[in-house]
Symmetry: C2
Subunit: 304 residues, 2 copies
């Protein structure tokens, strides 16, 4: 079942593709990235990648790429530039700064999942060794102060089970939503006294919805009471969940399958025990959004 | 449970919000749209909307808004302009051309669902009467020629069941994925002899994934054989499914709940019985992408 490396004498990628059919393809099209093994020299374009950073919104990932260029300028190879790779893709925004890729994955598991399939294949085809994947996101907190940053210990689904469930050919299958514990610990150690925010470890609940699925009472539809919602949030908290977002199970499970070290670092825009609506003004949210980027930038700086 | 209209003497919307909590809110923030009942005059901004057209990619929806302005210029109120409403939203692209809203929903159910919650509330707050919602998309065909356009009869999930399943407070709930049959029939009748493509009626299967979930053998992971895949596609075809995309169940179920007439019109980029990869060149795909827009534009023209 395993497919690792081609027999062409070059050193192979550490990324694992669990798909025997790929070797039978006459060239692979990474459709949503607008790239292909026949049309692009992927080793030349992406062979130097070491860190892949993903987040929902295109503007956040553009900001991150520019931020990392400034933050790490002494550490990056001489002449490293901000490269906008958007021309290739119609769906996702991708930026490259030397060994760092910064890509928007849109909102939710399906949108992220397409990107992961194609980025994992890209890493493989580009013969990348030991890449580290980060999700830099925003979330709702459970029993933590708004503005706090959560490093995920692992992910659970909406039933509070530690796996990612997918339906394949009409059959349900479950994949372990594990994250690298050493990487999470190291990220937690990068907190600095002047940061002005808490850096917290916790389980992350991944929902398929922002409203009912996360127990919000302010969507177009809501059939439950405030009391039932508080009970659910408490159940999550009791299970060690400290934040809710919309991608964690898929991100954990697929990187785990592909033998890729991965971490999820999200800032909480509110404490869900206290409400549903995201109330802080835009400029405050924008400042908070940079916090996970700061932590991940420190990690990259240390490992470049 | 029903909440219809405020007691302010103005005529109320036909859109139904099934959420008793909303009347207790001191102003509602449509967070992902960057709009609010306290910060914007939603009746003034959106009260004239009659048609809401959604599709995955921002560029497609920008194209559609411009296309509709040209196509319908004699039918639109004098002075109607192309309005870019992006300044409000950080996540979705929204354009307004007189009574037509054109909005990108991203990829997949979770991304669409957030938008639907907020657009349904927006229609309600703007006191819109009888809006018609369209999803204009791309898809994989099942036993139909590449380039054909499918008008969905209804939607089924990956288990080929006619409903949308959601988990709310840890409990599974099912919502009927029904679409308006008269609207679908009328759209089918708008085919013209010179169109150069087939306009087909069929069930639409909604998947949470582009690769394994749709039985593709070209993702980063694949544990099934080509034979098992063909069997699954045949099972779908036998159940009346003519295309697969990634939003249909949620779109059908939520518009249905909100008392909104809705239709899904998608062009097939390939016949999945023949392969997995999207091979036609970009310019051909771009031409095909306009086909659902043509059909929907004819409908709007007739009803303006």
């Amino acid at each position: 079942m395993f497919r690792r490396g081609d027999d062409n004498g070059e050193e192979e990628s550490t990324v694992v593709l669990l798909n025997p059919h790929l070797s039978e393809l006459n060239g692979d099209i990474l459709y949503h990235l607008g790239l292909g093994t026949k049309t692009h020299d992927l080793v030349k374009m992406f062979g130097d990648v070491k860190f892949v950073c993903m987040g929902g919104a295109p503007k956040r990932m553009e900001h991150f790429a520019k931020y990392i260029l400034t933050e790490l300028k002494d550490k990056l190879p001489p002449g490293t530039k901000f490269q906008d790779m958007q021309e290739h893709s119609y769906r996702y925004s991708m930026y490259k700064v030397g060994p760092i890729l910064s890509i928007s994955h849109g909102i939710g598991v399906p949108s992220l999942q397409i990107l992961l399939h194609e980025i994992i294949k890209l890493m493989y085809y580009a013969k990348v060794k030991n890449p580290v994947f980060f999700r830099i996101g925003t979330c709702g907190g459970i029993g933590i102060k708004a503005g706090s940053v959560v490093v995920s210990k692992g992910a659970v689904n909406e039933m509070i089970e530690p796996y990612y469930e997918q339906i394949v050919l009409g059959v349900k299958m479950q994949r372990s939503a594990k994250l690298d514990q050493d990487l999470a610990q190291e990220l937690l150690s990068l907190s600095e006294p002047d940061d002005g925010f808490d850096l917290i470890s916790g389980q992350t609940m991944c929902s398929y919805d922002f409203y009912e699925g996360q127990g919000r009472c302010d969507g177009a539809f809501c059939y439950f009471s405030e009391g039932a919602k508080q009970e659910y949030l408490k159940k999550l908290h009791d299970a060690g969940v400290r934040n809710i977002e919309m991608e964690a199970t898929c991100f954990s499970a697929l990187t785990n399958l592909a033998n890729i070290k991965a971490a999820i670092v999200c800032v909480a825009f509110l404490n869900r025990f206290e409400g549903d609506q995201v109330c802080p003004p835009k400029n405050v949210l924008s400042q908070w959004e940079v916090r996970p980027q700061q932590i991940v930038a420190r990690y990259i700086k240390r490992h470049l």
